[in-house]
């Protein structure tokens, strides 16, 4: 067994008999930032959802922190037991909770004590420069601010594995560059194992140590000699 933090072994997923993910194997060591690059519909998001436990693989194994979380066509660990931070493409901020409430919900669900929760929420909001907006609702924030809240929510429970599903796709290029830089800084500072999905080559190369290409539900063999990130 390798020392990988995240390990996928021949993971396969079908929808209506169509292969969306076909025998994908991947390894990420602790603290590694990998970008998964590929065109729309190639299965990138489904792969992330399989790792998070939001979909069940039809075949193959998924290991997180040396623990088998999915095998033999079923999830053996529920999503909440995987200690994952996930930033969705459309952010999925809970509109009826404030910024602080969005973060607090995660900690409360993981049974953090009230005082610790408050301190941790403050700390993470400061980290992403959103402390002054703690009491606002998502609808009162700009696109970039919402992005920061989504990142903060993914980080708040000290998850060691961060999954990012095209988190910056809806931003203009200036804001995207600034946030990408911050995200990259946080990833290194917190030593987060990170899988970053994008269809933007420059974004992938800026953020990741390693870039892997996907095509038609498979890791593109022709690019298996991985491109090295430029950072």
């Amino acid at each position: 067994m390798s020392g990988a933090f995240l390990r996928l072994v021949d993971v396969t997923k079908r929808f209506d008999e169509r292969f969306v993910i076909e025998r994908v194997s991947l390894e990420l060591r602790e603290g590694q930032a990998m970008a998964l690059l590929g065109p729309s519909g190639c299965g990138k998001t489904t792969l992330l959802r399989l790792i998070a436990g939001l979909e069940t693989p039809d075949d193959g194994e998924i290991w997180i922190a040396a623990k088998k979380v999915a095998a033999k066509g079923r999830n053996t660990v529920a999503p909440r037991g995987r200690n994952i931070g996930f930033v969705f493409q459309d952010l999925a901020l809970w509109p009826h909770l404030t910024v602080a409430g969005n973060l607090d919900f995660v900690l409360q669900s993981q049974r953090w004590e009230r005082r610790t929760r408050r301190d941790r929420v403050d700390e993470v909001l400061r980290m992403v420069h959103m402390a002054p907006h703690a009491d606002k609702y998502p609808s009162q924030l700009s696109g970039g601010e919402q992005q920061r809240v989504a990142i903060a929510r993914a980080l708040v429970a000290r998850s060691q594995l961060l999954l990012l599903d095209e988190p910056l796709s809806n931003l203009d290029s200036d804001l995207k560059s600034a946030l990408l830089e911050e995200l990259s800084f946080l990833q290194r500072r917190l030593n987060l194992t990170t899988l970053y999905i994008t269809h933007d080559k420059l974004e992938a190369a800026t953020f990741a140590d390693t870039v892997v290409k996907m095509k038609n539900g498979r890791i593109d063999e022709s690019n298996l000699t991985l491109m090295q990130g430029v950072r």
């Binding site: 209506d16 998001t45 959802r49 998070a52 999503p79 909440r80 459309d90 809970w94 995660v106 669900s109």
Partner: protein, 547 residues
């Protein structure tokens, strides 16, 4: 170089003559105001004037000073609130189950559970009287009357109205639960248990819609006439009917309903405020973020619960009617003696539904596509007018149309019943069709416009074909409402020109229950046929797509 097609709206708007679009919408709004708004406004004006034509508040004075009126107010509010709570407690969990749980024969079960909504409420009340009244089936089986005190009470009326309207809460909850963005729940599932996600994320997100549905039930229960009248519960609608039918007192009749109308206005504005555009748009989330799964014993208990609701809300009342008819010969005999009323009801409901949809489709289009702020007021206006008690609409129509000339000729013919149907049901059909128009991309109209099509051609060839499912649904719902209309028809129907609901209602007091039950059963049967057809031909659910 940019060119502007000669038929484009930009070109037409510069002309002095109004466009075909403006003319069509203007005509529709004029008819809406004439048929739906003026009768109600007219009644208010009458209620605020004395015999000499001067302003007076005399009709409203008893509302504040007479203790009996205050008691009436309390009973009316209790009836509305009780029915709303009953319908929500029963309907909301069912809606959640239908949106999120895997159930066998879901389509059939949904149809069975929705059935009470299309059965006219007074028929439901009649069925419960036949079951639990002093000489009802239960009393005959037990050899003594032990339920009639409950039947003829406020509680009985609450239960009957709650059972009639719970499908509204169920359908609204189901639609709300389906449109919750799956990712909101999935992101919560990464941290919390499914139960906690349901409690903290899903329920708060669907809460406003559930509350809005409760408010709609509240208003509908308040405006209902047939059920409290049959179950002898004195509320504003029954007192307004008495004030008019017994004393021919227009002003007092309307004044009695004034507090209720204020409540209806507040509620319609609240609904608009709380759920906003979601009143019209109910897109389904392609993926369910939090499917409800149950252990085998719990699932069995849930299915037994659903079967119990179907039994109590549909099978039991219909069975009561069936048993009371005493056989197929009685139904045939009732059909022959009331053949004229049945035929009247069928053609009037058919004509009414057709005209309602014709007007509502243009109003619904105008509501969705209007470029000015006026459209903000359409929804509260539609809800408010739909909530106006049938008795008030009836009194208003009599006051407005009972005069010499063409209006008088219409008033003395069966067409006044069609006018009544239009006044009562155009608002709800317009809301339904506005929702359908909203589903059509504006780009398809722009493409036709750029291609050189006139607005009329675009509307006829691009918009209407895409609306056909919505039009059929609105027609069926309008037909069902028209066919079961009682409160206003009983007031406006010309002598000798009875409809089936009016005939059933007037026969209840002095005719063998077997004949009344036979006619009621026919009413239920005719009402359920279009509902079944609608369910069969509705588009199938969205199929799952990969992420």
């Amino acid at each position: 170089m940019e060119t502007i097609p000669v038929n484009s709206s930009a070109f037409r708007h510069s002309r002095a003559l109004p466009s075909a679009r403006a003319l069509t919408l203007g005509l529709a709004v004029t008819l809406f105001v004439l048929f739906c708004v003026i009768p109600v406004v007219y009644m208010f004006v009458v209620s605020l004037t004395n015999a000499a034509g001067s302003f007076t508040l005399d009709n409203y004075q008893p509302l504040l000073t007479d203790p009996r009126q205050r008691a009436l107010m309390v009973t009316t509010i209790e009836l509305g609130a009780g029915a709303a709570i009953f319908a929500t407690v029963l309907g909301a969990p069912l809606g959640l189950l239908f949106a999120r749980a895997s159930l066998p024969a879901k389509r059939f079960l949904r149809l069975a559970l929705v059935a009470p909504l299309v059965v006219p409420p007074y028929i439901m009340a009649l069925a419960w009287v036949l079951l639990t009244g002093p000489v009802g089936l239960f009393a005959r089986a037990a050899g003594r009357d032990f339920l009639s005190d409950w039947t003829y009470s406020l509680t009985g009326a609450i239960v009957v109205l709650g059972v009639t309207f719970y499908p509204l809460s169920m359908l609204a909850t189901e639609a709300a639960a389906r449109r919750v963005d799956a990712r909101l729940e999935e992101s919560a599932l990464l941290a919390a248990s499914p139960g906690r996600v349901l409690w903290r994320i899903t329920l708060p997100l669907i809460g406003p819609t559930v509350a809005a549905a409760g408010l709609i039930v509240f208003v509908l229960a308040l405006s209902e006439f047939g059920v409290p009248a049959l179950l002898r519960v004195r509320v504003f609608t029954t007192e307004a009917f008495t004030a008019f039918a017994a004393f021919y007192d227009f002003g007092a009749g309307v004044a009695l309903c004034a507090p209720f109308l204020v409540v209806a206005l507040v509620v319609s504005l609240t609904i608009k405020f709380v759920i906003g555009e979601r009143l019209l748009v109910t897109p389904r989330s392609i993926r369910l973020g939090l499917p409800l799964t149950f252990s085998r014993p719990l699932r069995a208990m849930i299915l037994i619960g659903i079967a119990a609701v179907v039994f109590a809300s549909t099978l039991l009342p219909v069975s009561a009617l069936l048993i009371e008819t005493t056989g197929i010969n009685r139904i045939a005999s009732a059909a022959s003696t009331s053949g004229e009323a049945i035929a009247n009801s069928l053609w009037l409901a058919f004509t009414g539904a057709t005209l309602i949809v014709a007007l509502a489709v243009v109003l619904g289009y105008g509501r969705t596509r209007a470029r000015n702020r006026l459209r903000t007021f359409f929804d509260p206006a539609f809800i408010l007018l739909f909530a106006v008690p049938s008795t008030v609409v009836g009194i208003g129509i009599i006051g407005l149309w009972n005069r010499d000339g063409v209006m008088g000729q219409v008033y003395s013919s069966q067409w006044i019943i069609v006018v009544t149907y239009i006044a009562r049901f155009v608002p709800v059909a317009a809301l339904m069709l506005a929702a359908s128009v909203r589903q059509i991309s504006i780009s398809s109209e722009h493409a036709a416009e750029v291609a050189g099509a006139s607005w009329t051609r675009t509307f006829a060839s691009i918009v209407l074909p895409q609306l056909r499912t919505g039009i059929v649904a609105a027609w069926v719902v309008s037909f069902i409402f028209c066919f079961g209309e009682l409160g206003a028809t009983i007031l406006v129907a010309p002598p000798g020109e009875s409809t089936l609901p009016v005939r059933v209602y007037t026969l209840i007091a002095n005719t063998p229950s077997s004949e009344v039950a036979s006619l009621a059963l026919m009413q239920v049967g005719i009402t359920l046929i279009p509902l079944i057809l609608l369910t069969v031909f509705l588009p199938k659910k969205v199929t799952r797509k990969p992420a």
